[in-house]
Amino acid sequence: MRLRSIIVLLLLFFVAGGAFYVYGRPKPLPPKQPRLFVWLVEVEELQRIEIRLPLEGKSQVFVLGEDRYWHFDDAQKTGVDINRWGGGIPLLLSGPGADRVIARDAPMEKLAEFGLTEPRMEILLTLTDGQKLDIGVGNETPSGKAFYVKAPDSSDVATVDISWYTVIERLVKEPPYEPKPST
């Protein structure tokens, strides 16, 4: 009698155990996504930075001099204001972190929807080995907190925080000339 009860209970136990195995096991946490970058190069690889604002007809070009300082690409090779430029600008342009990847290999109509067929900002990066990266920045996201950015040589689209855009745009709208020495 007791043995029979134990066997019945054991059967129930195994049924419950089976149900737990199938339905109840805590699901493993998804692996933490590594930080995604829209593109990524070493800061030291940047040789030339060209930023264009096609809608406003403005652009600016910066080149890395032999003195390892950044200059405007003008006849005088005017140096940039080191306080504004610092190490931050090359770092921002070596690869902005993506808020999220919106589309992989987006079709043309989606690119148009994101404002990437007629980008509001174009960035052309030339690397020390001569490789060129052509990046397009499209519309603001509806929330106004980020911009759509198309990765170089692909139709992948990601969003990048608005602060990144603002800093880069300012390089064209308010070029970082060295302040004139006060007399």
């Binding site: 043995l3 134990i6 737990f20 109840g24 519309n139 996201t141 509806p142 929330s143 980020a146 759509y148």
Partner: protein
Amino acid sequence: MQSSSSSYFSRLLAGLGVAASLSGLIVMLLLPGIRLAAWGVLALGVALLTVAFVLDFRNVTRAVTGRRGLFGAGTGVMAAIFIGIIILVNAVSITNYKRFDITSLGQFTLTSKTKEVLAELDRPVEVQFFFGVASEIDLTLRSYAESLLNEYKNFSDKLTVRFIDTDEQPELARQNEVSTYSTSVFKSGDLRRVVFPWQLVVLNNQGQVSAIEAENAFTSAILEVTGKVQKRVYFLTGHGEAGIFSNASNGYNNARKGLQDNLFQVGTLDLAVNPRVPDDMVALIIVGPRDPLTSNEFDILKRYLADGGWMMLMLNPNSPENFRQIVEDWGVRTEEGIVIDEQSFVSPNKDFPLVTRTRFAPFMAVAEAYFPGATAIFQKDDAPENLEITPLAYTTLESWLEKDLDPKSEPVFTEGADIKGALALGVLIAVNLPEEADEGFKDTRLIVFGDSDFASNQHFFDGNNGDVFLKAVNLLTTGKELISIERKVLPFRRMLVTREQVNFITYSSVAVLPLLVLFAGAVIWWRRR
């Protein structure tokens, strides 16, 4: 002699082993910070038990393999398996469960109002929920809205719901003028209504999200896009009235939410700021004013009633004189004093008269409610004949209006000073419809309560107090050509018990089960003896 002392020693070791093992387990559970030491104590306990087992091997073996030992082991195995089954079933149910709402009006799913609105949908309604993934609140709102809107879909096949990734579909977001994550757009035909995320969240005093409540906003939006207009009631402010957004015990936050759950729109009216009655006002509610009206405000309210307005006035004892004057024009008066009911009250407060079903007007259909510190409403001898004055709730014959209540002593009826019950605690005043009423007939309706506390936050969910308030508002506003209000009111039920009943519930719930187990044990022991 040697065997006896050895047995005693091994028992001592076993006892210490058990104590150490239990202590180790308890410390491990309660003080995880010193878990290492707990493991040490546990190991010591196990070692002591092992030594006791080795020292008294013969006795232990005999005890285990004997009849009692086998019996006990069998019972232990069964108990262990049973506990294992319970643990496994609980572990499975944590992630796999199904909810059933068996309350009469489905209080834990959608309100009856929402279900009725959905059941009556006669045209397609599309809901677009534009979600974001930027923050935790966006994810929470999406999950909440998904669950709620799927629940909505269960009650109408006219409703379609789309969840749209705002960033992936910016064009659609722009077309719908959506610029904030977690925005919902309701559409039906040419009508469109946007519900913003801040309409879904409830903030606490620190400005943090304390709750999410989307049902009112969603159902209101459905009503609006299907061309139905919700009734809007206003609460008068500026005279020390209870605040409809106040969470204080005397506030009316719960009452406001109750009205919104019953699909009223709720606003406030400060006649000092805007000295006119809003066009969209269906009824005006005045809750426990403490300061008098200005003469201009007084004139506005008198004119509002005279022009066929609908008003609910909840007066406490010692209310300002001109508020009392307003009701006197409509055939009733209030007296100074507090209602005492010796026969029916919320123990131990005799000034909390408890009104049960038979002492409510039949159309109120309320089981019981109480009115803390109320005054009474009396019909005037010279009340106009064209008025129909109906008591909504009244006290027992053993009640009176105490004119001089001393809180330190037991209230006693004083002949000649106090007024004997039964006393009306609330009345409905309506103008009798003449046989040949023309379109200009002034259908004035006035509900006067001698108390405002019964529907305050502190008492709203007690008994059927909230029910009384909501039904009174429904009663007041029946008939306006807006949405139908002949609906079931969302009930709030809480059992009202006396101190003796509280004691019985407490002791019986604590003691009955253990006593039953003891009794069963005693019976089994007796039978096996």
